[in-house]
């Protein structure tokens, strides 16, 4: 059982009429992983999530949840999923307690276990104080938490969260991120978001989807390595010629940015900074600035999604 992935998505496609929303997407999720799902608007994130949670049937392909086929044994598979859609599925006329009790029963929690499950979900999401209030009267942040409580109430193997921190204040966002990391310890979590730092802070693996295709999938460590600097930004009071900079051992290419500033490219993990400083001192160039340029997730994201565009345009 430990070897079966919690979620395995095999060659899933879905189209809406002419529009191909998701094409041949395959991935899997292991226990203890928090998978970040990134993509520009309309890339197919929400469609993929809806397919995993059984809200949409794929046009082709298979989805297995904890070893159960979602299409053939929907009840057994769905019992292992907790899903928070983009818009939390709340009944505004119910109180938080009533709503969570209903969700617990809906997920086939035994009648005598319901109270305990509701209590646990409320304490995990910080809802103890609002149990008797109407959901419709709660603030957006609390409604979002009720949505998360609903998704974890039956301790599912997989928790799928579609943009869980939208509309929250910074403190709530931090709490929700902590909660997601907690969840990741005992459940598998799939998290879709636009917010890139959120992925870096909470996820153990990242997947980028663009125009319905998975274009990137890697662990966060590899991603960090990928984000390692390969460029230095330097500025001189008495700028030397470009050729002099390129002559320094380790500098692959120098780019003149004007006003005595240069961008130097070098191989990953072999920064020429010490040699550059020596050369600057001995050459009297007047080194004023020396900063490694960090590549952010944002840049990687833009690189990947826009290079994909370029490929499409060329084709």
């Amino acid at each position: 059982m430990t070897d079966t992935p919690l979620v395995s998505v095999l060659h899933v496609s879905r189209h809406y009429g002419q529009l191909q929303a998701v094409q041949d997407v395959s991935f899997s999720l292991q226990k203890g992983e928090v998978l970040g799902f990134l993509g520009p608007n309309g890339a197919g994130k929400s469609t993929t999530m809806q397919i995993i949670t059984g809200n949409l049937a794929p046009s082709a392909g298979r989805v297995h949840i904890a070893g159960q086929d979602l299409l053939e044994q929907p009840k057994a598979a769905k019992a292992e999923i907790g899903y928070l859609p983009e818009q939390p599925p709340l009944y505004r006329e119910l109180t938080v307690d009533e709503y969570l009790r209903f969700c617990a029963r809906l997920n086939r929690i035994r009648r005598d276990k319901v109270a305990a499950a509701v209590k646990r979900a409320k304490s995990r999401c910080g809802l103890e104080a609002v149990g008797r209030r109407l959901i419709g009267n709660l603030s957006k942040g609390y409604q979002q938490r009720v949505g998360i409580a609903q998704a974890i109430i039956h301790s599912p193997a997989v928790v799928v969260l579609d943009e869980p921190t939208v509309g929250l204040d910074p403190i709530q966002i931090r709490e929700i991120r902590d909660l997601i990391r907690d969840l990741g310890a005992e459940h598998g979590v799939i998290l879709s978001t636009h917010i890139l730092p959120e992925v870096q802070m909470t996820c153990s693996r990242v997947q980028i989807i663009n125009q319905g295709r998975l274009v990137f999938s890697d662990s966060i460590e590899n991603l960090d390595r990928r984000m390692d600097t390969t460029t230095l930004l330097v500025a001189f009071d008495a700028p030397p010629p470009v050729a002099a900079l390129e002559a320094i051992d380790g500098v692959e290419r120098a780019e003149d940015l004007g006003a005595g500033r240069f961008r130097l490219r070098h191989a990953a993990g072999a920064s020429p900074a010490p040699r550059l400083a020596e050369a600057a001192v001995s050459g009297g160039w007047g080194l004023r600035e020396l900063t490694p340029e960090h590549k952010t997730l944002e840049q990687i994201f833009i690189d990947i999604t826009s290079s994909e565009h370029a490929v499409e345009d060329a084709a």
């Binding site: 879905r14 029963r105 997920n107």
Partner: protein, 252 residues
Amino acid sequence: MIGTLALRELRSLFLSPLAWSVLAVVQFILAYLFLAHVQDFIQIQPQLALIDNAPGATQLIVAPLYGSAGFIFMMVVPLMTMRLISEERRNRSIALLFSAPVSMTEIILGKYLGVAAFFLLLTGLITLMPLSLLSAGTLDMGHFAAIVLGTLLLVASFAALGLYLSSLTVQPTVAAVSSFGALLLLWIIDWAGDKVSNPEASGLLTYLSLLRHFEALARGVFSTADVAYYLLFITVFLVLGIRRLDADRLQH
């Protein structure tokens, strides 16, 4: 599971002012009609005493009362069923049901039983009025039971149709208008049936009418054909509703 869904539905109905106002308005109008029928009955009672085999209170008070109730239900049921599925779609709360380990059949049956329980309650409240006549006289209990059964079947059919039409749209008002239109058409379809010269076509249109089958029960004639008609009607629209929800996920 169906019970959980039905209870939730019923609870939400009573948390909105709509259910309470429907109960109050329907009860008020029917109480007024009931008193009017009782008044009429008391006025003609001396003449009735002279006739052999005269119609009793059941025919003169109870039957017309439930006839009016059926007509009022036709207008009220679409209001109660319009939100069942369309509003869940609109609020996107339907995702909660779709991702929970419940089948489409359970969702539809749960919602149907929830709203049916409401109409059972409404019919029960109306039934208290004729029952009050027992303190002053007697009723033909067999006839009375047939009338109540007919009313329950009638309103259950209305609710099944309303639930199906609610599953077709995201706009509750569209669901209400189309349910009302469909019910009204099925109510009066036998009018046209009377005027069609072809006897077979005429028979078919008359057979389709919701009203005709109710009238037989209201006269105290219990026929399995009428009961089967309503049960078939309910089943057809519930199955259509289940198929419609299934189609939501599937590829079109």
